[in-house]
């Protein structure tokens, strides 16, 4: 169901979409059943003159079975949901498949920096490629990332990959993804990080092998044009509709004008 609203572009995004579907089927069943009973009882048992309500305590076994049996069914379906969830979760967050590439992702107020370990696969060496707000990756290759934050908590979020992970200052958090579709997509910061949280974005571009090599050459010889800027087009990434100080005072001015 999620893939109807947004592209599914990583190796595990399909698992998440399927889990969503499984849970939707289960809770959809319960929702229709319970909502139907609520509406049906409300319509059927409207007050009629001369008809008294029934006296049901709900404490005899013949009565409690009407709530207890559905209750047992809820438990059974809970077990299904928990099991399905743990399978998907263990695959995404608890296991690291063998890596093809290594990157470091650094969040700071209010931009993303990306360091690609380059051909040697080791960070902090001379062949590292550093970009800002712009991440270039190859399709069908597994990326490990080391997530860091310089100041406050950020969240590295790529919706088409179904990937979100908090970045905590003072820690390095490891994770992975494997893109399956080429194209250019949004990177978000999905944790409130202050004044510029609303503009903290980036672009991830998933390349074929050839276009990736081409882009790396451009980055190295300086002819590169940021994909993030290209995607933003005329829209400036800076807050455009107010200055920093104005913004804080207009509510105060308004209330002051009332009193």
């Amino acid at each position: 169901m999620i893939e109807y609203f947004i592209l599914s572009a990583s190796s595990f995004s399909g698992d998440i979409d399927n889990l969503f579907l499984v849970i939707t089927l289960i809770i959809g069943f319960w929702f229709i059943l319970v909502f139907g009973a609520l509406v049906y009882f409300t319509l059927k048992f409207r007050r009629k003159d001369g008809v008294k309500a029934e006296y049901i305590t709900g404490e005899k076994h013949s009565e409690t079975k009407w709530t207890h049996y559905p209750h047992y069914a809820v438990i059974a379906m809970d077990v299904v949901i928990i099991a399905a969830n743990i399978i998907v979760w263990v695959n995404i967050k608890q296991t690291l498949p063998p890596k093809d590439n290594l990157i470091r992702v650094i969040g700071q107020q209010w931009s993303w920096s990306f360091v690609d370990a380059g051909p040697d696969g080791v960070l902090d060496t001379a062949d590292d490629i550093t970009t800002v707000n712009d991440l270039h990756v190859k399709v069908d290759e597994t990326y490990h990332f080391e997530l860091q934050a310089r100041d406050v908590i950020h969240n590295f979020s790529v919706p088409v990959f179904r990937l979100r992970q908090d970045a905590l200052p003072g820690r390095t958090i490891k994770g992975w993804f494997k893109p399956t579709n080429t194209g250019s997509f949004d990177i978000q910061c999905a944790e409130m990080c202050g004044y510029g949280h609303g503009i903290m974005g980036g672009a991830i571009t998933v390349h074929t092998k050839e276009s990736y090599d081409e882009t790396i050459v451009q980055i190295k010889n300086g002819t590169y044009e940021s994909h993030y800027q290209k995607r933003m087009g005329t829209k400036t990434p800076l807050p455009s509709n107010t200055s920093h100080t104005e913004g804080h005072n207009s509510f105060a001015v308004l209330l002051a004008s009332i009193f």
């Binding site: 409690t64 809970d78 928990i82 979760w89 919706p159 908090d166 503009i199 207009s250």
Partner: protein
Amino acid sequence: MSQAAAAVETGIHAEHHEDLNFLHKYILPLDHKIIAMQYIFTGMIMAIIGGYFAYAFRMQLAFPGELVPGYGLVGPGEYNMLVTNHGTIMIFWVAMPVLIAGFGNYLIPLMIGCDDMVFPRINRLSYQIFLVSALVLILSFFVKGGGFGGAWTAYPPLSSVAEYNLTDWGSSLWVLAVALEFISFLLGGINFVTTAMNARAPGMKMMDIPIAVWFIVIAVILFMASVGPLIAGAVMLFMDQRIGTTFFLPSGGGDPLLWEHLFWFFGHPEVYVVLLPTLGIVADIITVFSRKKLFGYKTVLYTAFATGGLSFVVWAHHQFIAGIDPRMANIFVVTTVLISIPLAEMMFSYIATLYGGSIELKTPMLWALSFLAAFLIGGVTGIYLGASALDVYFHDSYFVLAHFHYTFFPITIIGMFAALTFWFPKMFGRMMNETLGKIHFWGTFIPFNCIFLPLFFLGLAGQHRRIYNYQHFPDLATQELQNIRIFATVSLVVMLLFQLVFVYNFFVSMFKGEKAPDNPWRANTLEWSTSSPPPHGNFKKLPTVYRGAYEYSTPGREEDFWPQNVAPE
């Protein structure tokens, strides 16, 4: 007659039941009913501020960069301040004071048949501290730098370091206000539990207590047991802000995750703290208007205990992807999904109560039934978010936002209207206008769904929260998604306009409404056995209780209700 017997006869606090001047009756009251009104009216004023904030930031989302009529420009910093304080106000200064402090104060002594709270002066002090906390919060909007904008969860280091949040005093006053508010409710909570357990009318056994009182008591116990860590956390945060400690700052050896644990250890039980009073109120209303005994009184009560207990071991489901050990998530998935078991059982019992009833759709009943319907959506969508693997996608997205508005809106707003329309005749001695009440109901409930149902789909499309302008995210800047945002905003404006109907109905009925009889709904509980409104001291003669609260349509009786205080023939 001995002195003690005389005290029982006239009530424990007989000495302050004489006529009082205006100052002592309304400004510095000891009467629990007036204190309850103070809480409810303060909460409603705060709700207007919170609603105004929602209006301002929803307008900015629908029409980014335009002047918002009645507000002005909403810049990024101000947008953060608006969403932060909207959340803070609606949870801490509306849901808590109206449902727990307000209706708890009003209902507990009346429903258990006692003349007042056992500690009336602590009760008064509790409200006064609450009022100060509200004023401190409002003050924080006006200090240099503006109000706090780091989200109502206030994760450090953003909330603790002025260079990061740019609202030096705004964030400190915010923490101070929240801490003061907790102190106020701790004082109130002690009072509620003591009163409900010790001051019940003769003959009222534990299992004769109305569910509304029980659930408020359970909620208060949950609150008191969970708030300690957060008060400690708030003090640490305040010290980080003002005297340079580094409890939550990694560069000084602290840890931001510590705050998340302290906050959510309180934050999740808090959901049930505000939920349970509404569930209790709804239980009372549906039994009265379907003329039915509550289906499985004890089962409902025990499920509330189970929910409360479980709510203490689920907090890390807010932190699945916050950097905790991923293996820990599996444990919290199990506990979180398990919460569906007692709550489903409770829901089944409520709906079974309707079976075979004689249902009258008066305004309070419409609110109560709509609560069940809306909360059902909030409840089932919670299952998605309890599953950690889906949290990888939904964390901090509009799906989360829509989910918890489908729980908190029914709890806070629908619950408040249900309770107000139901007990209005008792509170003010007059009836509310039914027609206006129903217009207001439909004018609130339909737009409410139009606001929040579409937001689920924005969440599915990957829209993340607390962004003042989605034009900066090309995948989210499409016209289709923008149309959904505009639709939600227009629905919000419609809903806010319909609240004027309620305000009109409320105040006109209060002074000019039809005079209410003592027991307009033919209900069983003790508050309906005294006059409307009850005098200071509540009962002319303290009642004696002979039976449980839900003896409706008892076989062999001519009338379809059997008040708790009527002696058997």
